[in-house]
Symmetry: C2
Subunit: 563 residues, 2 copies
């Protein structure tokens, strides 16, 4: 058997833009054919983009997708194309759609393959829309028997997970049916460390069956989810034979050997970023795509002089360019001189537009307005929140007036325990750091100042003032306040959050495994529960950990529970 | 066969409060046994409350539930009890839990029955947590073969729906296995008109199989969902033999005949409210339970003089009592005298606390603060929103200072097209009317003023000023503004919303079926799409229609779609 020349079309679709996504698919196909590709493979549901969510409930949208696949099929003559789309089930009962991959050639759709394993956990809701595929059949392309699977179908093997969620293993079934080659159309979102896991699973499967795997993943960000791309070809020996770029569109054409020992000529292999670098690029792509796909060409954010807003400003400059970013410092009577100068220094280093808007006038006016009703009460949270909310009013006015996205700068640690003000610092269109724990914010800040030099060459290489990184974090809503007046050290808090939120441990387990003070764990876990009402109204945030607040964590608000 | 004396324990559990819910279950069991019940039936998942959402992912919570069912089993000796709870699957693969009904007697659990049909649409996410039951087996209680099903298992028959979602029909299977009696443990949320449908389905099933059905539904509100109760017994001839109260806890004990022609003595039959009355009671229960279960004993809301805030004030007074409600009028330079006097008249009629807090001072201070940056731009939305957001700051200050729930007063029509200000009038903890279209708000207002007299006896029977009902609705954010400057008449807008949101019609279909102007339909449908980012950050709202914004409608934000 000769190798097969396959093109991995790692596209960044816009959700719902069926016509635009199809135009893009046609241009990728043309480029692939020019490079001699016999088969062009697109990601899961690439015609509509992943995740399309409840757009899938609109019959007219499903009709548009069917029309788009016809258009693609009619376009291709010399190569075969595999493209993902939502397809109406032909059965009279069950869920109305399949998560399908259509195989097109010679102007028509020659076959379909339906996703078997429908993830319905975390951010995934596939049983809401799709009927699982049950047939195991191969698709013949130029005499090669191709075993097509869709995303989760690759993840059935239980050994990497706490529990085997599925009863079947579609990859094993395709191998047993006599596949020469596995193709997997994916829309597998970024999570720190996940691509390493993907590669381990694919290498094992390839070696186990002695067959190559072509993995084509979506790239680009859609709301909370960033797709990292990282499409690749793993050879029958488990070697990586081709690897597309991460966090960008790519068209990777390679010759895929069809059995162990067959000719194996590695084609282009791009490096996949890991660790903090991957987080940084995921956040930049997440912010950039949210702006691009919502139609924002500028962003505004509050600059407090602290580390969260500094990191957000760097991300915004990287995603949108300096001319598109406005930073606003809104000092109150409690703001330190250091905070004001740190904010200004950052803005100057980044070359973004910068305003200082003192809060005192509206703050005083609001205090006078409320004074008759609050007389005799102790000043506290209500008064602190007024400042944060007046800042929200100012920032939203800029957003409304100039059509800029307001970037919410809070981190995951604050959001977890509600150390943030609803309609105040929580205001905004995208919470860029809401899945980044404070300890990781520090790592990202240090990475920006040390590793990201070429990105910030004009800033002298260290855009974030060292003072913003070194000084004790503070909300500066009352005199001499620091975060650690109310919170444990962030190393401890982030451990509690990781265990309670990501790992679903109980208070008892956390205490036993960490040795932390029992009252402290109990208090902050309860605070995490009780802050759910704030998170309910938080802007969408970019997911980078295994469990983000937001769409993938669905907690009741009115509840009473023994954690 | 003698009739069987069965107790329908229509309880209102608090989500996650396993210990408290179990205490309540034991007291219902004791009362039922006193009345000679042989069998006591609780709703679906009643030990943890429905919907428990991602609490189900916490192993410690599942352990607590198992312990609670053991406690219930040990408590009962003379009667059998059927109680719903999440139970760990004993299989090595598949979803980790079953949505189970345990049958307890003589101090032990004698059997389990797992839910077969797992709703995974709208507000339901059951495939996220549960493995479907597949066995069809009856449970023997005193020689009677009981066919136990859980909620959705009753709804398999396709004729009432557009599509048969399920391949099996558990009720038919139980009948074929030889059941003497159907028991259905439910947590079936309120939607206008749904109980009529439930009754039709149950009457048909009872008649078809010649067997009685005992339907035990949860009552009470949990976040967005209101459960109406309405538990009942339908005899083998399809007659209603017993019917519990709606929107309240109830323990209904009745003798259930076991075959067609058997002795049939109807026990207590309460009237089930319909139409606007049901909506009113659902909203009062929804608001009252949200407060009770979150620990609020008072509420605050802005009173604009308009109909939405007037209806909300009536609901709050009904749910919490006059002493627990504070209404705040915040007139701006654009507020009409009529609005101010209507707000005051309403507050006086309801006997709630009332403040007038003029907005002018903070409004001017904020204008002066922003003036240098907005100089030379035309006054528009940004300026209008400042007023709405300053009102939000004032109301949230009251909420924070006095620990009162801020009630968000906007209706579904506004929320649909984004005719509302994020962090302004959208601020609050519960959006009581967010699933009530404006035309239905008018009906509720008229119902309050005409039918609800006993509820508002102290208000002279017509608490809502007629002027609030009759005058053209206005946001009063600029001079002489009315809603219809920007929106079509609400009768038209609500038709468009119903067709696009609830029925998933396309623009083409709406135009064809209504004859509305094409540009108008296109414009407002696009406005619905484009306002998703506001709804993403909206407070939870009480669902009363077939499709509410919120948890049951999951739309992408960054998208471009041909509606």
């Amino acid at each position: 058997m000769f190798p097969m020349r396959i093109a991995l079309a790692q596209v960044n679709p816009t959700i719902g833009d069926v016509a635009g996504n199809t135009d893009k698919a046609l241009s990728f196909i043309d480029r692939a054919v020019e490079q001699g590709a016999e088969l062009v493979v697109f990601p899961e549901l690439s015609v509509i983009g992943y995740p399309p969510k409840d757009l899938l409930l609109k019959p007219s949208v499903i009709d548009q997708c069917a029309g788009a696949v016809d258009r693609i099929a009619q376009h291709v003559q010399s190569a075969a194309v595999i493209v993902g789309y939502p397809m109406r089930s032909r059965k009279p009962d069950g869920a109305p759609l399949h998560n399908a991959a259509a195989v097109c050639r010679d102007g028509v759709i020659v076959g379909h393959r339906f996703k078997h394993l429908l993830p319905t956990y975390d951010v995934f809701d596939e049983h809401r829309y799709f009927e699982p595929g049950r047939q195991v059949d191969l698709i013949d392309v130029n005499g090669i028997q191709i075993g097509v699977s869709v995303c989760e179908d690759l993840w059935a093997a239980g050994e990497h997970f706490e529990r085997r969620l599925y009863h079947d293993n579609p990859i094993n079934q395709l191998a047993a049916a006599g596949a020469d080659l596995f193709i997997n159309c994916s829309a597998s979102p970024f999570v720190t460390g996940k691509h390493e896991l993907r590669m381990a699973i694919m290498r094992e499967l390839a070696r186990e069956h002695g067959l190559p795997i072509v993995f084509v993943n979506q790239v680009g960000a859609n709301d909370e989810l960033v797709f990292d791309g990282n499409s690749c070809v793993v050879g029958p020996n488990g070697d990586v034979l081709a690897h597309a770029g991460d966090f960008q569109e790519d068209l990777l054409v390679g010759d895929v050997p069809l059995r162990r020992g067959g000719p194996s000529v590695p084609s282009r292999i791009e490096t996949s970023r890991e660790g903090v670098a991957a987080v940084y690029h995921a956040l930049v792509l997440g912010l950039g795509d949210y702006c691009a796909k919502c139609g924002f060409d500028s962003a505004v954010l509050g600059l407090s002089g602290g580390i969260d807003s500094a990191v957000c400003a760097c991300l915004a400059r990287s995603a949108l360019g300096p001319d598109a970013v406005t930073g606003i410092s809104m000092p109150s009577r409690y703001s330190s001189d250091g905070s004001k100068s740190d904010a200004q220094q950052l803005a100057e280093a980044l070359g973004v537009t910068y305003h200082t808007i003192p809060l005192e006038q509206p703050h005083q006016a609001m205090e006078r307005t409320l004074e008759p009703y609050f007389a005799g009460t102790a000043s506290g949270l209500a008064e602190e929140n007024v400042q944060a909310r007046l800042r929200g009013v100012i920032l939203m006015s800029f957003s409304n007036k100039f059509g800029s996205l307001l970037i919410t700068t809070g981190n995951k640690s604050e959001l977890a325990v509600g150390y943030c003000t609803l309609y105040g610092d929580m205001a905004g269109g995208l919470a860029v750091l809401s899945d980044v724990p404070k300890t990781l914010v520090y790592e990202v800040a240090r990475w920006i100042n040390t590793e990201a030099c070429p990105l910030f060459a004009a800033c002298g290489g260290q855009p974030i003032p060292l003072d913003s990184i070194r000084k004790p974090p503070s909300a500066e809503l009352r005199p001499d306040q620091t975060d650690q007046d109310s919170l444990p050290p962030y190393e401890v808090l982030d451990q509690i959050i990781d265990r309670y939120v990501e790992r679903e441990q109980s208070v008892r387990q956390i205490i036993d495994e960490t040795g932390y003070d029992g009252d402290l764990v109990q208090r902050f876990v309860r605070l995490i529960d009780r802050s759910e009402y704030k998170r309910k109204q938080a802007p969408p945030g970019l997911k980078v950990t295994g469990r983000a607040f937001g769409f993938g964590r669905r907690m009741p608000l009115a509840m009473r529970h023994e954690p």
